[in-house]
């Protein structure tokens, strides 16, 4: 693939990749970095790109992997930070509570999705928000379709559960 074709065919994918990374990571600069990284990789392999049937799936797959790496690294950092910054955490928590008060509906489920196990989080993101079908998701995740279906099923049920639970708690509070 030459530079021009790359610009026309591959470059536009950036919006999807960015949206995906942003929703997974919830951090604008990090998401941007990841997208840049993915494109450098794609650029470096542009000669081989023509042999790929679904470049979008490839790009999404790369993005997914980098996001997972970031999330895992975050977890280890967070554990270390907890050790030293106990005071700060309390303040942060107060702030986020305020935001929740303002955007109850969205935040509730937003947090719920983040609480999902990594794989469920990513797959539900791909299916219900990005809108990919099972074929495409299997290419991105490198999983078979049935496993994906089971995963989605669990994720959706879990979310429903959480919504029900929080609604119940809320009505209990209001009484």
């Amino acid at each position: 693939m030459n530079a021009n074709t790359f610009k026309i065919k591959v470059l536009p994918l950036n919006t999807k990749l960015y949206g995906f990374a942003l929703r997974i990571l919830n951090d604008t600069p990090e998401a941007e970095d990841i997208v840049q990284e993915v494109f450098i990789k794609l650029w470096n392999m542009r000669k081989k790109l023509d042999s790929y049937k679904n470049i979008e799936a490839l790009a999404m797959s790369m993005t997914k992997n980098l996001c997972i790496d970031k999330i895992r690294r975050r977890k280890t950092i967070k554990l270390e930070e907890k050790h030293y910054n106990n005071n700060n955490n309390i303040n942060e928590q107060n702030n986020s509570d305020n935001i929740i008060e303002q955007n109850k509906l969205i935040s509730k489920i937003h947090i719920a999705i983040k609480e999902l196990p990594e794989q469920q989080h990513i797959i539900i993101q791909l299916k219900d928000i990005e809108g990919y079908d099972y074929e495409e998701i299997s290419q991105i995740m490198q999983m078979n379709i049935n496993s994906i279906r089971v995963c989605i099923s669990r994720a959706r049920r879990k979310l429903r559960e959480i919504i029900i639970k929080s609604n119940y708690e809320e009505s209990a509070r209001n009484k």
Partner: protein, 178 residues
């Protein structure tokens, strides 16, 4: 509501991950209406949320410009790196070449860089050269010996000292008796 049965069917499919895109569209249309039964509240929230997110996903920022810039910068950096590596390499190669050439030249023509005074052999006949050499060397040898003969007394003196060597040994031994 006759639809309720249908809705529940579709919901069951959804939560099994078996619903089609059309099924999901139908459900969304349903949840948009008013008067949703209470027990389906949670599902409504879920569906609306997902729909909302999907909508937002279509409004992502376009980073095309930035990305293309980044790619070009990376390519430039690569070129710089290659150019720099090449210049270092060619510098080394040039040095090695100089080394090899000069070594070679010196090896073959040891005098090429010096002001070589081309002296020609005076004789072409080895025998003659030999004799002439011998003559010169003999002359030198005689003069040399004349000079060194004068040093014979010193040699005698040295001999004398050697005779006294045993005394030295005695001295060494007596140390231990102090």
């Amino acid at each position: 509501m006759k639809n309720l049965q249908e809705i529940n069917k579709l919901l069951a499919k959804f939560y099994n991950g078996e619903s089609s895109k059309d099924d999901e569209l139908y459900l969304i249309k349903f949840f948009r209406k008013e008067n949703i039964p209470d027990e389906l509240n949670a599902d409504k929230e879920l569906f609306l949320y997902l729909k909302d997110q999907k909508y937002r996903s279509l409004q992502n920022n376009d980073l095309s410009e930035k990305i293309w810039q980044n790619i070009q910068n990376t390519e430039k950096k690569k070129k710089h790196r290659i150019r720099r590596d090449l210049s270092v390499l060619s510098g080394i190669a040039a040095s090695i070449l100089i080394f090899i050439i000069s070594f070679h030249m010196l090896h073959n023509n040891p005098n090429i860089f010096n002001n070589e005074y081309k002296f020609e052999d005076t004789y072409t006949n080895p025998e003659l050269a030999y004799l002439e050499t011998k003559q010169a060397l003999l002359y030198i040898s005689e003069k040399f010996n004349k000079g060194t003969e004068q040093l014979k007394p010193i040699a005698k003196f040295n001999d004398g000292i050697e005779e006294l060597e045993p005394i030295n040994q005695y001295n060494k031994g007596s140390k231990y008796f102090k």
